[in-house]
């Protein structure tokens, strides 16, 4: 259960050092990505000018305020409240995100499935769990909205955040085939039978 301080972008070797149960704090850059962003990138042939190789993406669509572009707000946006959405809806984008764009870390809540776990093992990636619904706290880890691409999809644009002490995040799925969500799912399935019996349910 080690703690890792990581400056993004990271190498495959750095990601492979992370094990389920470890914690991570990210520094420097984090990209925000969401349903519509990825539907447009992978189903509709749109591309981004951002170099995502070795980077971390977070499943988000932030609350922002439009402001005049300045050194403080280079993208013309001030962050208001930035949090994390449920990752499961974006399961099918893990492979293309890693294969086509070289993303190494996905930050989200609620976990991803077996296909993503396989992608993490084959290509060298991890899923970092944040506590969902804690956006006020998360917003304090974001220093600036540095840049934005595909902004016609706002709020589901591709966001580039400058971050500081972003975490601790929990390594919930690693590149060695471990998923804390899978462990919990197995346990829950076993308990389900006992719970139903306790409720007096006659099972077929």
């Amino acid at each position: 259960m080690a703690h890792h301080e990581l400056n993004t972008p990271v190498t495959e070797a750095q990601v492979r050092e992370l094990h389920a149960g470890d914690t991570v704090t990210l520094q420097s850059t984090l990209f925000g990505i969401r349903d519509a962003t990825q539907i447009h990138m992978f189903d509709r042939g749109r591309t981004t000018r951002f170099d995502l190789r070795g980077h971390a993406v977070i499943h988000t669509a932030p609350n922002v305020r439009r402001v005049t572009a300045s050194p403080e707000f280079p993208a013309g946006y001030a962050p208001v409240c930035i949090g994390t959405t449920t990752s499961d809806r974006m399961e099918r984008f893990t492979w293309p995100l890693m294969q086509q764009y070289g993303v190494r870390m996905i930050v989200g809540k609620g976990g991803l499935r077996a296909d993503s776990l396989e992608a993490f093992a084959k290509l060298g990636g991890v899923y970092l769990a944040i506590v969902g619904g804690t956006a006020a706290l998360e917003s304090t880890w974001i220093e600036q909205i540095e840049d934005v691409d595909l902004d016609d999809l706002n709020p589901e644009s591709l966001w580039k955040f400058r971050i500081r002490d972003f975490g601790p995040l929990l390594v919930a799925m690693d590149s060695h085939g471990n998923s804390l969500y899978e462990d919990v799912r197995h346990d829950v399935q076993e308990r389900r039978t006992r719970v139903l019996a306790g409720l007096g349910v006659r099972t077929a």
Partner: protein, 291 residues
């Protein structure tokens, strides 16, 4: 009592922002109780982060969660209230729109086919506005609920049959909680609707999911089943954020209605741990804000 529509509009605006920032005291107490009883260290940590977030949101005057949800306004109108119902709904909508534009809030509302976002949190039939009537004379009450999508995406309806009995209800509720896993941002309030028609059943589940913690089903049999299921779902081990633990749900709430002799409808709707709601009551002494 005459109702000033401009005051309704301003209040609808204010309620949306308030609901997004401050959790009701019953939910805060719910956290205190869960963290006291949680036996898994990782789950304890997750709960404490959620509690820290509540403090940070209040201290920094920020939104609790980035999901501004689908805006829902529940109105109760007393018998002595004079108001143009159509204009009342329009005023609520304007308030919702203004909160989004003026604060500004992320508009999370899109057209279901074109996915076009008007950036107003409004669209066809949204905000959702429910109107009910009460006996109290000089009284109008607006409850605002921003319903987050993580929990709303895990909504379920089963038209069970009478021969499947209460076993079907218990199994369905347990299986919905299992299927939802961490996707609903647990600990949740598991809202269960029983009986009615399919549409009423789903509406009852939403009402149950958004009921304050500590309240019980009016029907005594429903209340007993609430207790039984509240204990049961917290033995499943889903835990906060689906990462394991005892704190899967604050409670299971049930709302029920009479149904057909051939029917046994069951609906489940969940409310995430950021169980946000805000309330304003219009009385002869003024507008009173609360939860």
């Amino acid at each position: 009592m005459k109702i000033d529509l401009k005051a309704i509009e301003d209040t609808a605006r204010e309620l949306y922002i308030r609901a997004l920032k401050v959790l009701p005291p019953d939910i805060k107490q719910g956290f205190d109780q869960l963290v006291r009883n949680e036996s898994v260290p990782r789950a304890q940590g997750v709960l404490r982060t959620m509690m820290t977030n509540i403090e940070v949101a209040e201290r920094t005057d920020n939104l609790l969660c980035q999901d501004t949800g689908v805006p829902i306004y529940n109105l109760r109108i007393g018998s002595g209230v004079e108001v143009d119902g159509h204009a009342l709904k329009a005023a609520i909508r304007r308030g919702c729109e203004r909160a989004t534009r003026e604060y500004p809030l992320r508009s999370s509302v899109v057209h279901p086919l074109t996915r076009r976002n008007e950036h107003t949190s409004c669209g066809i039939e949204v905000p959702v506005i429910h109107i009910d009537f009460v006996e109290t004379t000089d009284f109008l009450d607006i409850e605002m609920i921003p319903k987050g999508s993580g929990s709303e995406n895990n909504s379920f309806l089963k038209m069970a049959i009478p021969a499947e009995g209460i076993d079907a209800i218990k199994t369905f509720v347990v299986d919905c909680v299992v299927a939802a896993g961490g996707k609903t941002c647990p600990p949740t309030i598991v809202g269960v609707g029983l009986g009615g028609t399919s549409d009423l059943c789903v509406a009852l589940a939403k009402r149950a999911a958004t009921r304050p913690l500590g309240t019980r089903c009016d029907d005594p049999d429903g209340a007993l089943l609430e207790d039984e299921l509240s204990q049961a779902v917290n033995q499943l081990g889903v835990g906060p954020q689906g990462l394991g633990g005892d704190s899967t749900a604050f409670a299971v709430h049930i709302e029920l209605a009479a149904t057909h002799i051939t029917m046994n409808p069951i609906a489940v709707n969940m409310q995430c741990h950021s169980a946000r709601r805000a309330r304003a009551s219009f009385t002869p002494t003024g507008i009173h804000y609360g939860f």
